[in-house]
Subunit: 375 residues, 2 copies
């Protein structure tokens, strides 16, 4: 076992044995994840399942694991400790509930779920069984977001006052009308659900719980029938901000944080998003602060911008290894049920705002979930 | 007359004589304006008025013009063709109405006004008298905003899909509770009125009329009693976007435009904002477009960012010379009653949204103004 290949330092003494995992959902993202984690010494990729027989066979061959013709068979296998779920959003709850009932730990892709009913089912299942639940909010693991967190907590730009987070790609220009992403029920708010959820988690990671949101959206392709651009304003106890998601523009991913003493800007070359071993090599974080004497007249301030050095990690590998270690008795996962549900609650508040045309309190969504889950 | 000093090329043959102008409101901004235009061959700075006697005397001496003890005397002087108004926002309508009644043309600072009632008074006065009205939406005259307009119109990044405009400075950290900017009646939404209005005009200049807005704001200094950060989402027929204004952060001014084929980013070193002869020297515009083959795997695209060369102008000089030329028989001003009222209507819609917690149609504000003005 090559401990040097573990993405994060952990106490290896707590490992009983590498967790044995099964992959459920073998589409593009399921494959990108497996590419990152398949050869990790922290786990064994034991088997896989997809409804698509060809995809299942190809995955099993590529990653040298067993192919299960049904999800039930995979979940019934006592050799499997946990599952990595990358199925469409509206199937997350079904798979999580079935896995928990079978005593399997669950890593599930973001968003945790896109309806209150599904969030309630997930909370009940996890609380009733005590399985480990981890959610794929991988973006906060990017080196630049980790550094942003350190800068914010260390007040390198004073107290944070406002923030902008923007995420775009060209998905909306190419999806077919029958794609599940084109269906507001499966993917409410389009890119808000599918990519915006990453920045929702990033922003709550950086600044704490969002209190209120208001969103406006556009559906520029009538045949698609879902929003392809959504602009959302957010309110915290201590700041305001913006989340912009755009499915009709070339890949873009950035966060800009303003504070009483300066500002920070993080930007990623989105092409490298899925190649998690190299994502951090294609990102830049800058810090801009005023400097006295630099302005046009005596005593006025100009500003200076510095590049902040970033470490290089592997965001996809890290999240799966952390899940595997948690199963094997390691520390709890970073993004578990509460954090994933909190991100989903902001998402659902924004979706409600899209249809109501008014600001929505996130606490009202969370209260509904919690009340239903405990009743 | 040194025609080379005219900021924009105009048909000098149409000039009867340089317009004779009076300055009303001689605070910091009135002085910054005069510094830019006082020696222009397109006009004669004939006189000035401020309620503050010392300020009046100092201005008259510095710019070698007459000092009028009262606004009435300045407006009664037949030698004066027009006035340049830089008084607090809630006095704009009074001065515009008085000037128009005296047959004087008016350049008035942004925002045109901050109440529907004042906007109605201004429209009535201008329509009844036919005086030239120009409004100080100087930001669209920045070389980078002009180039953004050319890029957007020329579709260098395809069709525009979303946009972010951010403007911040540290005014909110230093103003006293009795400053007029701290009063929601005189400066509704704080920085939204005072600096956000520039980006409202920029965005409507670039993308056409805003249809709907929703805003959330914060009042972090209870003793000030006005919002110091406001986050606003905007909806167009063809795009969505964001306007962020923050009065608790070091100076920052930028616009980012996303399109189906790339994105543009304009950023200004805000320290140079008031030194209009050099503002354009301290700005950068970049264009980012995908390049095939640059990504991590065969066939995937990365992106390349290029700096777009910018001309250098003088935004404050240009707006005042244009006003002077319009008075003297030149072309109409670029930002007249309609454009300035349209910016104010978006502002008032956002202010209403701040208090109502819901999205507000800009057309409803405009309809109210127009109906009252024509009744």
């Amino acid at each position: 076992m090559t401990t040097a290949r573990l993405a994060a330092t952990g106490d290896l003494a707590t490992f009983r044995r590498p967790a044995r995992l099964g992959a459920i959902g073998l589409g593009g993202w399921g494959q990108a994840l497996a590419t990152a984690y398949a050869s990790s010494p922290a786990l064994v990729l034991h088997g896989c399942h997809s409804r698509d027989e060809g995809r299942r066979a190809a995955f099993a061959e590529r990653f040298s694991c067993r192919s299960y013709p049904s999800q039930q068979e995979l979940l019934a296998d006592p050799e499997v400790d946990g599952v990595i779920v990358a199925v469409p959003n509206d199937r997350h709850a079904d798979v999580v509930v079935a896995a928990a009932a079978a005593g399997k730990h669950v890593f599930v892709e973001k968003p945790l779920a896109v309806t209150v009913a599904d969030l309630v089912r997930i909370r009940r299942a996890v609380e009733a069984t005590g399985v480990v639940l981890a959610c794929g909010h991988t973006a906060r693991r990017l080196a630049g977001i980790r550094q942003l967190k350190r800068e914010v907590d260390g007040q390198s730009i004073g107290t944070v006052t406002s923030v902008e987070a923007v995420y775009g790609n060209d998905r909306g220009l190419i999806i077919e009308p029958d794609d599940w992403r084109a269906d507001p029920a499966q993917c409410p708010g389009g890119p808000l659900t599918q990519i915006g959820i990453h920045h929702i988690d990033n922003l709550q990671y950086l600044l704490g719980p969002v209190r209120r949101v208001c969103a406006l959206g556009r559906s520029p392709r009538p045949e698609v029938g879902n929003q392809l651009q959504v602009a959302t304003v957010l309110e915290w106890d201590s700041a305001v901000g913006y989340l912009g998601v755009d499915w009709c523009t070339p890949g873009t991913f950035r966060i800009e944080v303003h504070g009483t003493g300066g500002r920070l800007r993080y930007e990623l070359d989105y092409a490298w998003w899925g190649d998690s071993a190299h994502t951090d090599d294609h990102a830049i974080l800058t810090r801009t602060v005023p400097v006295s004497g630099g302005g046009p007249t005596a005593g006025t301030a100009s500003s200076v911008t510095e590049v902040v050095p970033l470490a290089v990690g592997n965001h996809l590998l890290e999240e799966i290894e952390e899940f595997a270690r948690a199963i094997a008795g390691g520390p709890p996962v970073e993004v578990g049920l509460d954090a994933a549900e909190a991100a989903a609650a902001v998402l659902l508040a924004a979706v409600r705002s899209l249809s109501d045309g008014r600001a929505v309190d996130v606490a009202s969504v969370t209260a509904t979930i919690r009340a239903a889950a405990s009743s």
